[in-house]
Symmetry: C3
């Protein structure tokens, strides 16, 4: 089943990786989590690959957690796979975003349609983001009574200022690709993000693969400082939120299309 | 007396905190330092508060150190309270800016008129800054022969590039809200910063308070790395400057409205 | 011979430092490396200097490594002096960029014409960059099968986002001063960068020299965290690239004006 979720085609040194669940806007269910992590793991070992393009088939890059998974968040269970994978600094939910940093060659995300919640966090895991100006994006987790816990807080901090990160996370507001570019979340805007991502991948594939791998490693060594600690903090915070009354109320009110009624600590 | 300096009104989960010394453009004297630190300390314990708006009554947010305090800098004494508060990483002068980071819910500064010296450092302590385009802002300390020592060097480094931080600190130049926005110091521009800050606070207060507190804690954990060390460095540097001949000359020449005559180390 | 490469003129507290090899666009050969490092070392001890302006005579700031030095990279030898200098965190190739951070007073680079490869890395070592809009700039190393190893990866990380740093390093593309300003690499644009740099230096020289030195030290203490580790990583990565088949092929193909033929690890 995970085989249906992601396709990999390698041509002339370029891996074309696609989320292939267009009928669900590539929403993240258990099979999609596994398929993305496996795709990344495979690309870590492909010595013939010089660049990767990551995109979504159909109308969107990735609309976030699957509806049914979200409904699960209204009950007392974890919304996405949370078990730690062996020897990693991530759990599976974090690994589907972080693995693109572990891939030793550049990963370019071509983003269009929607990149929401888990979807934007996966895009933030790529080295470069080429984004359609009309893309709808949001760090949406607070809307569901949770916090971004798929490496998004760490990757955001490399791209935007402290106040912008807080603005996006705290308001959970939806913004378009143009604003993403102005804020620093989109590397470039393009009306044809997939085509431009492939063109950039070809340009990189024409360079010395040794130098390209060394350059990514050298920059990552610098930018990844503190990642493991922050990922652990994400896991602690989400663990303290999921299933608590206010978090259940956030999800339940959303599904019942009513205004949520939250309680402050003093009233419990 | 400190009671005159800051007011707190809590309505529907929003704390409206105002500096209330409009006849002095909310300049910082000893009573204002104490009142700000106490206001922040109180908000750290108010479990019914979901968001804070920090603003200044009258024509300005805060024009910086009080004139008489500045005059004191021309003599051989510390310009603002420098004693460490128990168990903190700050002294009182730093605490009035840093306490807004310690408040567990989002703090939005509504900035207008002037935010100069200590005033801009307090604004930098907020999570979000909504700024009137005509606000006069400056990291003004070098003009007085000192350096920013109220957490400003650390908070600046989270918002602007290394060269921009140096430009602003080294030239002590005055810039307006529009440039502050272009540089990254203003989160948003608004012709009505107080109204827009209150609207944003209401939006945040409608979210799950657990998720909002967790999100601020999670992002602060990331962005605050190195804060204690830098605050100690600020205290060391200011301690080596205040009362030295060039610093006294900077203040004296300013008050005498003449060009200062500084000496280089080799001439002493 | 090194005496021909760099001139220093000190007037009214301002050191006017110029690369003086205009017939070669101030390209970096062994003598230029030594002359730049010595110029910086001298300015570390001049107690009468309050600000430094660093520029290049003739048509360009600095076009990068000297052609003959580059040709050397096609053989099995180091392209620029790599020996560690006593007690430093840099080797000589890094020191010519880093020394401007060690100089205790502000260093303003006036950049025009070309700032390529080693040239842009030297510009990044200055505190402030005033750049002509038509300047041709590039982090060019990957084009030669190597990586930036003259402190450029570290200094880039203080000015641009992680994705922008990767874009510039991985594509080795040439961009102009206008884009440099939009990206954060130029502090300011100017049609007369040297004149404007001198004006800024005069403004800084009118401030208390104690406060100016303290401010640079205070900000550097913050921004330099992690520098030594990253410089060591640069040295390791370049050591693993120079003289290897793909690196030699990059240089050889460039000089033979043909498309390079790189091999992936799996094919060796």
């Amino acid at each position: 089943m995970a085989d249906d979720r992601v396709s990999i085609t390698i041509t002339a040194g370029i891996a074309d990786v696609r989320m292939t669940r267009p009928d669900k806007r590539n929403a993240l269910d258990g099979a999609m989590f596994v398929a993305l992590a496996e795709a990344g793991a495979r690309l870590c070992t492909e010595s013939n690959v010089r660049a990767v393009v990551l995109s979504g088939e159909g109308a969107s890059f990735c609309a976030g957690l699957d509806f049914e998974t979200m409904a699960g968040l209204g009950g007392n269970e974890r919304g996405h796979p949370g078990s730690m994978t062996d020897g990693r600094i991530t759990h599976l939910g974090q690994q589907v975003a972080w693995v693109w940093q572990e891939v030793p060659v550049p990963v370019i995300a071509a983003v269009h349609g929607h990149a929401i919640g888990g979807g934007i966090q996966i895009a933030l895991g790529a080295d470069i983001r080429i984004v359609h100006p009309d893309t709808k994006m949001s760090v949406r987790e607070v809307h569901w009574g949770i916090v971004p816990d798929m490496t998004g807080t760490f990757m955001l901090s490399q791209l935007v200022r402290a106040d912008v990160a807080k603005d996006l996370v705290l308001t959970a507001r939806i913004f378009d690709g143009r604003e993403a570019h102005a804020l620093g979340i989109a590397t470039r805007l393009s009306d044809h993000p997939y085509d431009d991502a492939m063109a950039m991948a070809r340009e990189i594939a024409d360079r010395s693969p040794d130098a390209i791998r060394a350059a990514k490693a050298l920059l990552n060594g610098l930018f990844h400082s503190g990642a493991a600690e922050q990922f652990a903090a994400e896991r602690r915070q989400i663990g303290s939120l999921v299933g608590r009354p206010n978090q259940v109320e956030a999800v339940t009110a959303n599904f019942e299309k009513r205004r949520p009624n939250f309680v402050d600590e003093s009233q419990r």
